[in-house]
Subunit: 364 residues, 2 copies
């Protein structure tokens, strides 16, 4: 199945918000074997919405639309959908009841006529009740294609995708897409490409290979798709097995679906050990990322952001002489910071960061 | 001037990266009065690139393309551009010299044939030398329209935009776009809309008004465009002045171009005061965000992430009895944490956070 995602909202086109909805949707569709051909972001404008929908339906079997479903005048998606599907808005009693309940239980305010209007939905659409909000999802079918319109507020959209959309699409998706990404550090993409040239030439046509470069690192991605998931995995793994000996000096691991913070947490918990962190140049970033994962309090005891020498001395208890002898940005002081923070928090492990962070090139 | 942005890269369509390039470009174009009609993300595929370019040139005067300019086989943008503009690749001596220099000075490796191929550029394009990388920017003109192709690596793209693209576009842009966003907390969009209904009806047609809802808050945006920037500002300000009395109980401030972390830094520096932070539920997030702004070390002395009661007691020195009496999540303990962290770091101000952070609804 081929999909296109259409994101509606002026806030995307003026750069006021980052379009994380599209990233989430692309990832979820990929997981169930649906390939995303295009992501299109347009403004809240009836003609634009209809044109984009028209062009998407020429290429894709599935069109996912987000945004423009609010109760206020600037949101036009429902009108555009009615014009596109030659449909009209009717009041849906289930939606109305749901909106009244949301206002009673959570908003604790009486509903007004704008809220009531949110129960007006296109008559031809199957309605997806939005448990976390008042804008319903709408599922249309036309010429054997699926067109699904969802609210743009991320947590409302995600909930509908996970609970209503993905389970139903999965029933009809017989396809699988497999992406495996290898992380490498220390060699530029052109040198990697030269080194693995003959390996790359031997890749079968149905494995797509990509280089994703960024400062100091290059990710290598193998992608393939087909009916038999196990076979695709086996095929990709076979070629990775041949690749690994060629990049063993720069390969550091795989990019997993679970973020690295989650992998760290799993490791600490399975070892029943605890962690404390002393951060200088990273300024609390590591603490903050570790504690964003639910359950982190079971192993992460805390951290100290010691940005300047006084804090390193007074709060962490690093010897002043050590800083004078080796400078704050040194292996010796870094080691001392890790030892001290471990002592203070009584953790199994102590970790520290130090370095010079600055806005100029070469300073970071 | 009307623009379309085309982002090329399978990594966007499988949800492997968030498309922050499009956000950056949209914002920069808006600042110089160029309106973005559409952002289109497509895969590294010659036909897709040509089709998107074709469709963009029907609507826009300016097409900005990012991505697909690397030295490896998976990058197809240069080939697609040559086919689209009926052009061919020629070796550009300035680009070649630049690539050799980059490899000599930074990569410290000899250049290989793939790197040399990056000096092959379309003959009809004006070349923008990429100081931070080896993939050049390319500027085409066709039927009085501008088509600019840039590398997809964010810091390389940003540098070319700021140094080469925006200054030149600005010379020809006589238009101004003004967006002003008001932040409100505590009232849903439908209730705000009802309350300001007659104000909204009186808005002139050339001011666009939008509601941007999210959990607990609604942003209200007024946008307008025209030749005379001062007049547009004055017109928007006049309507904001009428709006403010209607929302005075929920209005908290404006969304400025400078992030709040920068505003905090400016405030502290102008008062010559310093700050230390004790974080519980925020886990280092505040420290981390403040220290990301260059110059933060001049006022931000450091922080302590005291996630559990032991750390609050042992590291911060909060009285155990106080925690027992009031619980860790209380005004009393929070106040004590702020006082203690201020003492420890000898800062002018101490700030603390406390609360229960959890994955379930209603826990945060």
């Amino acid at each position: 199945m081929l999909a296109e995602i259409i994101c509606i909202g002026d806030e995307i086109l003026i750069g006021q918000v980052v379009n994380t909805n599209a990233t989430f949707l692309s990832k979820e569709l990929n997981k169930i074997g649906i390939e995303v051909l295009q992501v299109t972001s347009i403004s809240d404008n009836i003609e634009n919405i209809k044109n984009s929908l028209n062009s998407a339906m020429k290429k894709a079997d599935l069109v996912l639309i987000t945004g423009g479903l609010g109760p206020t005048n600037d949101d036009k998606t429902k009108i555009a959908l009615c014009e596109f599907f030659n449909d009209k808005l009717i009041s849906n009693p289930d939606v109305l009841e749901h909106i009244i309940k949301i206002f009673k239980d959570y908003v604790k305010k009486p509903i007004n006529e704008l809220n009531k209007n949110q129960a007006l939905v296109p008559s031809k659409a199957k309605i997806l009740i939005n448990e976390y909000g008042t804008a319903s999802g709408m599922w249309f079918r036309k010429n054997k294609k699926n067109i699904i319109s969802l609210p743009g507020v991320p947590f409302e959209m995600k909930h509908l995708i996970e609970k209503e959309v993905i389970p139903k699409l999965k029933e009809h998706s017989t396809f699988h897409i497999v992406n495996k990404t290898l992380l490498t550090y220390g060699l530029g993409e052109s040198h990697i490409a030269k080194r693995i040239e003959s390996w790359e030439k031997e890749l079968p046509k149905d494995i797509k290979f990509a280089y994703l470069p960024n400062l100091g690192r290059v990710r290598l991605r193998l992608s393939s798709k087909g009916i038999n998931e196990k076979q695709i995995h086996a095929k990709i793994d076979k070629h990775i097995a041949k690749l690994l000996p060629l990049i063993k000096d720069i390969f550091v691991g795989y990019e997993e679906d679970a973020p690295v913070e989650m992998q760290i947490q799993n490791l600490f918990k399975s070892n029943e050990s605890t962690l404390a962190i002393a951060e200088s140049c990273t300024g609390g970033e590591i603490s903050s990322r570790l504690t964003k994962i639910p359950g982190s309090s079971e192993y992460f005891l805390g951290g100290i952001t010691a940005y300047n020498n006084a804090a390193k001395k007074e709060i962490l208890g690093v010897d002043e002489q050590l800083i004078k002898t080796h400078s704050a940005v040194s292996k010796e002081v870094s080691k001392e910071m890790a030892i001290r923070v471990r002592e203070k928090f009584k953790s199994t492990y102590g970790v520290s960061t130090t370095g010079t962070a600055g806005p100029s090139l070469g300073e970071s």
